[in-house]
């Protein structure tokens, strides 16, 4: 009886401890959300999404061009990174057991560990220094370099999750191996790969450092890949380091917009990953 009471006491203690750990983990996130929402929400008007930035002191104005710029550069990055990243992932999953596979895997691990500011410098050297000016293309290249390794690794993981019984089923029907890979295995893994793409896009959309000296910034609308382009993250950075109260307010609101955007992408990824491979044969 005594032992039972003791064990119940121990149980209650550790339940409380783990509850406290959960609280400690959730609290920073909650306070971050609260801070951004409470500071940012007052400036959240429809005009904020559609107008160009205004000079200090002038009322109104928004980050419309920066939102477009972020989408534009993430789009360029996706165009560059998806074929390479997913292609590398397919290679690693299908033929990656040899020496070349482990080299590719190691390289992508190293690449994913490279700080994003270094990626920015590389893109500066590759694109900006050669073209002699900042551009959306340079920003897109920098973001693509960030996306490729994570895309490759998660594509590999999701393809490896596809049961080998499906590959056998397809091969036994007389389907060539390459077609089996592309139309059976990849298709079955597609839900997971789409999730991985959304997460990579969300991560790229939230990056500042690679864009600082590649895409620079732009006060106007721009959809020319060869011109400097605004982005939400750099805009937030510029507003936040300025000495003006007016711009600080805008930085908060832009941060809220970015948070909503990234949150939406993460939410979509979650939703999609819920039914991936559901009920596939063991």
């Amino acid at each position: 009886m005594n032992r039972l009471r003791w064990r119940k006491g121990v149980n209650a203690f550790w339940t409380m401890m783990s509850g406290a750990a959960v609280l400690a983990a959730v609290l920073p996130l909650a306070s971050l959300l609260w801070l951004v929402i409470s500071h940012g929400a007052p400036g959240l008007t429809p005009g904020f999404f559609t107008s160009l930035p205004t000079p200090v002191g002038e009322p109104g104005g928004g980050v419309g061009n920066a939102i477009v710029g972020t989408f534009f550069m993430v789009g360029i990055a996706s165009l560059l990174a998806l074929p390479v990243g997913i292609g590398a992932g397919i290679f690693l999953a299908e033929k990656g057991d040899g020496k070349l596979g482990s080299v590719v895997r190691f390289t992508s691990e190293v690449l994913s560990g490279v700080p994003s500011i270094v990626i920015g410098i590389v893109a500066y050297g590759l694109v900006v220094a050669r073209m002699k000016h900042f551009s959306a293309l340079a920003g897109g290249v920098a973001l693509a370099l960030l996306m490729v390794p994570s895309l490759a690794r998660s594509t590999e993981e999701f393809i490896r999750l596809v049961p080998s019984a499906l590959r056998e089923a397809s091969l036994a029907l007389g389907v060539p191996a390459w077609k089996t890979s592309l139309r059976v295995i990849l298709r079955t893994a597609m839900g997971g790969i789409v999730t991985a793409v959304l997460l990579a896009v969300a991560r790229a959309a939230g990056e500042t450092a690679p864009l600082l000296f590649t895409a620079l910034n732009n006060q106007y609308w721009n959809t020319d890949p060869l011109q400097p382009t605004a982005s939400l993250t750099v805009q937030i950075y510029n507003y936040a380091i300025s000495p003006y109260e007016d711009w600080h307010q805008k930085a908060w609101t832009a941060a809220l917009v970015l948070l909503l955007l990234v949150g939406l992408l993460n939410f979509a990824a979650r939703f999609l990953s819920r039914n991936r491979l559901q009920g596939a044969p063991r």
Binding site: D97, P163, A165, L166, E168, A169, S170, L171, A172, L173, G174, V175, P176, A177, K179, T180, R183, V184, R187, T188, M190, L277, Q278, G279, A280, P281, R282
Partner: protein, 286 residues
């Protein structure tokens, strides 16, 4: 090499459904027509390896057209390996290889110039566990082989015909667009049979097709094998000796990578020539 490996007994298949209790079929009842037909499948000195492991030792046997041959034997005896050599799925395992002569309608399948991909369209396979494509509908699962191989024709018609052949049509005709995963295990297995039949193979390999199924679903698969026999040559691996006795015309007994004995099913089960076969079918080991 053992003496019994060199003697390949070709015995015409019986058209009668056999049971352990069934009387041996009188020779007059056998169909001489199929006996005179050239064999569908002829295996000579087939050896198979997994890396350094010698899994099959010089197997010789002959399968007449439109008959059912069952491969029995304890786990690890090589019967599944044998089956997987016949559509060259064996060599897909890293380090695995097979040597020997494997004639389908007189044409060697193990030759270097034979494309295993086109061979697999002639020799279909049904696996131990039902493995429908989870992202496809019932209809698309059946038509998968046609679509992936770019085979034209009226797919809806082929889907209906093969689903009827596999005795699944009445159960699924109203929900062809539903996911294949909405079917029960037994239905999924019949779907996989329909899928294999849709590409019109000549030979159908079945690797323990009922071992993951309940008795009712098993009975349906066995009925199906009887139906399919009129058009296809079927090889079935089974752990269940009663099943082998029920569905097959000939039975091959494998043990430790050797083909111990092959012959008419009623002979294997009632009067085998080899002591080891008798011990196995009477349950003394295995």
């Amino acid at each position: 090499m053992n003496a019994f490996q060199e003697t390949t007994v070709v015995i015409p298949p019986s058209r009668r459904m056999l049971d352990l209790q069934a009387k041996p079929v009188a020779p007059a009842l056998r169909t001489p027509a199929s006996a005179q037909e050239p064999p569908k499948l002829q295996v000579e000195k087939l050896d198979a390896w997994y890396g350094k492991t010698h899994a099959l030792h010089g197997v010789n046997l002959v399968v007449p057209p439109r008959s059912v041959m069952a491969a029995i034997g304890p786990s690890g005896c090589g019967k599944s390996t044998f089956l997987r050599c016949l559509n060259r799925m064996h060599e897909l395992i890293p380090g695995a290889r097979a040597e020997g002569t494997l004639l389908l309608d007189g044409q060697n399948l193990l030759g270097r110039d034979v494309d295993p991909v086109s061979l697999r369209r002639r020799v279909g396979m049904v696996f131990q566990r039902p493995n429908p494509f989870p992202t496809l509908s019932i209809r698309d699962n059946v038509a998968a082989g046609l679509k992936l191989n770019g085979i034209g024709g009226n797919h809806d018609e082929i889907v209906e015909r093969t689903l009827r052949q596999s005795a699944l049509w009445d159960e699924v005709k109203d929900r062809l667009a539903a996911s294949a995963l909405s079917l029960s295990g037994g239905q999924q297995q019949r779907l996989c049979i329909a899928r294999a039949l849709a590409v019109e193979p000549e030979v159908l390999l079945m690797d323990e097709p009922a071992s993951a199924l309940d008795p009712i679903a098993t009975a349906k698969i066995e009925d199906l094998i009887h139906e399919l026999k009129s058009r296809y040559t079927i090889l079935i691996v089974t752990h269940n000796m009663q099943q082998a006795a029920r569905v097959s015309d000939q039975t091959a007994f494998f043990y430790m990578g050797d083909l111990i004995e092959v012959g008419p099913t009623e002979k294997i089960f009632t009067n085998p020539s080899e002591k080891r076969t008798e011990d196995y079918v009477t349950g003394k080991f295995g």
